[in-house]
Structure formats: C-alpha cells, structure tokens
C-alpha cells in the first residue's frame, strides 16, 4: 500500500497507545523514550511524533520537548461518545417508558436552554406533550438541573446572569442562589425533581449522563402529570438515575451491557 507500505501508520497508532500512558501530571515522553518503547530508531520516532503533532494528535511541550496526547484525540473520543449516545439512548428511553408508564426524554444543554433530542411516549391520553426538538428553560426543569449538576456558583452566574427567571409554575426558583441549592440537593439525591416549576401540574425527574472523561453531556428525564406521577417521583427518580448511570457506562466504554430488548 502507500509509499511506506503502511508502516508509518502502524507506527503512529502504536505511538498513540504509548502516549496514552503519559498522565497529565507526568513530564511527557521524549523522542528517545518513544523510540525505545516502539523498537524503532530515533529518526523514525521523531518523524512519527512530528506528524501526530502536526495534526493535533500529539502535543509537544516546547520547554522540555516532551510529548503527550494531543487535544484532537479527546475531540475524536467525544465524537464517538455522541454517536454512541444517540444509538444507545432509544432503547433506554423505551425501557423507562415501559417501566414507569410516562414520557421519557434525552436532552442536552443549549445555551441557557434544554434542548430535547429524543422523546419516547406511553399510550396515555393525558401525558406530557411530544418534545423532541423543543427547548425549555434550564432554571425550572429537572433536566436543566441534571445538566447543571457540575456547575458551581461562579459557572451558574456566568450562564444565567442577565437571563430572566420568570415564574412559570407555583414552585419556580426566583434567584440563582435558590437554583444552586436545588442543584446541590439533586446531586446529593442522585436525581433532580421538578414539580410545578415549568408549568402547574407537570412533574419530572432527571439524572445526568456523563461521557468518558466525566463531563455531563446529556440528561435523561421522565415527565408526567403531577396527579398521576407526583406520588411516584422518588421511585421514578431512582430508576432514571440507574438508567443514566448505565448510559454513562456505555459512553465511558465500561463493560456495561445495555439491555436493548
């Protein structure tokens, strides 16, 4: 194949594998070390690292000339997570609907709003409306609080300062400090609850989905009318948290099997 018969590619892939062992607190890996680890000569190792660095797959510390993994490896890994999320989530939503009998959604943070990507519904007459593609405010929804679970006071102010927090239901928060307290409560509990915050009579539970590096990338939530769903929020929340953890496991490439049946 190719001018080099594919040998530089195989060398490059092995180099990435070796660089992955360099943790961020270590000094990095020099050309000589890498050459020894790969069993190639120094000029081959140097050429390989230069190509990887030119494309952002390796990162060279100008002071020490040592290499570590580059930012694009993490960007690529993030793309794998997104794809896997969209492929794995439908089966999880379906199962939540089967078990809880209410509408289940997968949503992501979109500025200071929550954007619903996927939605799955049960055969009830009275139910939360079809939401896919809709946005709702982040401050008055369970999904919003799940998505903001890692935001501290500084990050919340950065996101919401200047954003109106109109009361949409009897229990909507009016201040960022109040929102922060509810986020902490939700984190402690393992899932967020909103009852009569977005709209009177609408209740929801939600939990965050994390990708391979621990970052929150989506929220799983289930919503329904308070008269029916209200008494079951604790049970439903625990189930949503369990499913969110399972989805996170799939994104992290843990050996967690998603039961698609």
């Amino acid at each position: 194949m190719e001018g080099d018969g594919g040998s530089s590619l195989r060398r490059g892939l092995r180099a990435l594998d070796v660089l992955a062992e360099v943790s961020e607190t270590d000094a990095g890996l020099g050309v000589v070390d890498l050459a020894r680890r790969l069993g190639v000569d120094k000029s081959q190792a140097s050429r390989t690292l230069r190509v990887l660095a030119d494309h952002g797959l390796a990162d060279r510390d100008p002071a020490t000339r040592a290499y570590r993994l580059g930012p694009r490896v993490f960007a690529y890994a993030a793309r794998v997570s997104e794809r896997r999320l969209l492929r794995t989530a439908p089966a999880v939503l379906e199962r939540l609907v089967d078990e809880l009998g209410e509408r289940a959604h997968l949503s992501v943070l979109d500025g200071s709003s929550v954007l619903t990507l996927l939605s799955h519904s049960p055969p009830h007459a009275v139910q939360a409306a079809g939401w896919a593609g809709r946005t709702v405010p982040v401050y008055c929804t369970a999904a919003g609080r799940a998505l903001l679970a890692d935001h501290d006071a500084v990050a919340l102010h950065a996101l919401l300062d200047g954003v109106d927090l109109p009361a949409r239901g009897p229990d909507t928060v009016a201040f960022i400090e109040e929102l922060e307290a509810r986020i902490r409560e939700a984190a402690e509990r393992g899932f967020a609850i909103a009852d009569g915050e977005l709209e009177p009579g609408l209740a929801a539970v939600a939990a965050p989905v994390r990708r391979f590096d621990g970052r929150i990338v989506a929220a799983l939530n289930v919503s329904g009318p308070s008269f029916r769903f209200g008494p079951r929020l604790a049970e439903a929340g625990a189930e949503v948290a369990r499913c969110a953890a399972e989805l996170s496991g799939a994104l992290a490439d843990h050996q967690v099997a998603i039961d698609a049946t």
Binding site: L9, F74, A77, D213, R215
Partner: protein
C-alpha cells in the same frame, strides 16, 4: 526521495478527520471523494484503522472507533475523577469545616493528590494538589493503597522502600505495619495521627469503581486536636459512593 516516509500515517489521519465530520456515518466512496484519495487507497487505510480499532464500520458506514475513547480515557482517568470530585469535596469541606481531598494511586507505590477543597478556618493544611506522597505508611490514603496488597506484597514493599521514620509516632516496624493494615482492611478506612508531622491528622475512605477496584482515596486532613476522625468516616463514605 519522491514519496514521504510518513505518507500512510498522514493519509490515515486525514481520513479520521474527515470521518469526524460525519456523525451519522460515511461510506468509503464518500471518504475517498472528500479527501481526494484513490478509493482503493482509502479502502486499504480504513482496513488498517479498523483492525486497530480506530475506525468502525456498520450499516451507516464508517465512524471513529472506540479505541480512541480507550486511549483518551487511559490518559485522563484522574482528570475525570478530579473534575467530578470538586463539588463533592466542596460540600465535605463546608460540612466539617476541614480540608477535604481526593488522591489517586500513581503506579503501585505512590499516591498523588488530585483535588482539594478547604474549610473556612485559618488553621488548616496547605494545598496538596499535585503533591506526590511516597511515604505510604505515614498517609491515610497511602495506608488504604497498601491495604489493597496482601501481606507478601506489603513485605516486598517494606523491603524495597524501607519506610522512613518521620515523627516519633510513624509506624515503621513490619509487625506494627501489618497490624495497622489488618485494622484498615477490617474497618474499611484509614487514619493517621501525628505520624507524618506532629499535630497533623487525616482520615480517608476508599473510592471504588464498579467491580471493587480502588479508583481513589477521599479524605479529610486537619489539626489532630480538631479532627474527629471516626465521625467523619460516614460522610466520606457517602461522598465516595457519589464519585463513581
């Protein structure tokens, strides 16, 4: 030299980069077109990437492979844990008014502090983030790490490292260390009191990943007189269960 000696690597990276722009998957023909590569070349390079797990193919075509996730995770497991730990440590520190920290194992015989949150008091510990601890026998987190080993491995560690005496209370005799580690295994948490530095106490509980492997150690440090170690075990355990 007419052909660059890194041609296959450069071209394969170009393919990966093109693939990243098609989140729903992309065919070999389309990839060859956007990268202006002969289809046969693209096809051969993709096969090599697939063998190594860097590319995957299904009904929707090619996508970036999970080997890249594995590599990214391996390089960053500590950062992921440290990031998720920060709000938890802040709560611990606020609740007990003492410094709370998360440490992870670096190799098998060192501990490094990766995250810390401090209480509101003036008298407290300094910031330890990034600090590596080699004196495992004189550290609460270090004792947890040693407690994972069986007695034979601990004996080998003692022979190799020759534990240093840091204060009059440091445990350096093998017998005393074995007893202490048995106690740590038994109660499921570890403590030090003036063993690393006079007047300094710590208490630590294990953070366990699915399957029970030790992912990190979460603990409190503060003045011996103030730190009620036994009372702090329960909040540390609750915090640990939220981290993984």
């Amino acid at each position: 030299m007419s052909v660059p000696r890194t041609q296959s690597l450069t071209r394969a990276i170009t393919l990966l980069h093109a693939m990243a722009r098609f989140p729903r998957g992309v065919t070999t023909a389309e990839l060859a077109r956007v990268t202006q590569m002969p289809p046969a070349t693209a096809s051969r390079l993709l096969a090599t990437l697939e063998d190594a797990g860097f590319a995957e193919r299904d009904d929707d075509g090619w996508s970036i492979g999970r080997e890249l996730v594995r590599i990214a995770r391996r390089a960053e497991p500590q950062r992921a844990l440290a990031r998720s730990a920060q709000p938890v440590l802040a709560e611990l520190a606020a609740a007990a008014k003492e410094s709370a920290m998360l440490a992870v194992a670096r190799g098998r015989a060192r501990v490094v502090v990766v995250a810390q949150a401090d209480g509101p008091r003036l008298l407290g510990v300094t910031n330890w983030v990034g600090r590596t601890i080699d004196d495992l026998h004189a550290s609460a987190a270090g004792k947890l790490l040693l407690a994972e080993l069986d007695d034979r491995a601990v004996a080998a560690w003692i022979r190799r490292v020759k534990p240093r005496r840091l204060t009059s209370r440091t445990l350096i005799e093998p017998r005393a260390l074995f007893d202490e580690l048995a106690r740590v295994r038994d109660q499921g948490w570890a403590e030090i009191d003036g063993e690393s530095e006079a007047g300094l106490a710590s208490v630590a509980a294990p953070v366990r990943a699915a399957g029970g492997t030790l992912a990190g150690m979460i603990g409190y440090s503060g003045p011996s007189e103030r730190l009620d170690r036994e009372a702090l075990v329960a909040p540390l355990r609750r915090a640990a269960s939220r981290l993984v």
